[in-house]
């Protein structure tokens, strides 16, 4: 097996983001990946 390449700054940043299970390439990160608004009235199970 080849030795793993030295980690770059970008690799480290992505590794730390361990809850983002998607493989978002750097250029593909969108606003929707970061924030999402929903109405407080928009969940079922309240009056």
């Amino acid at each position: 097996m080849d030795a793993a390449p030295a980690a770059t700054e970008t690799d480290v940043a992505l590794c730390e983001d361990d809850l983002a299970e998607d493989d978002t390439a750097d250029e593909d990160l969108t606003m929707e990946d970061l924030i999402e608004e929903v109405s407080i009235d928009g969940m079922c199970g309240v009056y």
């Binding site: 940043a13 992505l14 809850l19 983002a20 990160l29 606003m31 924030i35 929903v38 407080i40």
Partner: protein, 95 residues
């Protein structure tokens, strides 16, 4: 969008920020908007905005890669539009 990153911001006092496994929930008690912050880095940025002379330095301090800055700027603009974050009165000055 670069103007967003060059400005000084702070978390709005009407907002409650609640940590979640996936990031955080932000609820604005005034306009009743509920926004999900889906990355821990974004949460760190939002919390730290008030301590930085501009948003860009907050991104750098949180370790946000340069290539993501544009998306983060859009997200911050979206948060500003909902009054989750506000311009700081002392904004824009070089420290």
């Amino acid at each position: 969008m670069t103007t967003t990153l060059d400005q000084a911001w702070t978390l709005s006092p009407s907002v409650a920020l609640r940590p979640e496994p996936f990031g955080a929930l932000a609820y604005h008690f005034g306009n009743r908007k509920l926004i999900f912050l889906r990355r821990h880095e974004l949460v760190a940025v939002v919390r730290a905005l008030g301590e930085h002379p501009d948003a860009r330095s907050a991104l750098v301090a949180a370790g946000v890669p340069q290539a993501h800055h544009h998306a983060y700027a859009m997200a911050l603009a979206g948060l500003a539009a909902r009054d989750v974050i506000r311009r700081r009165p002392d904004g824009g000055e070089n420290l």
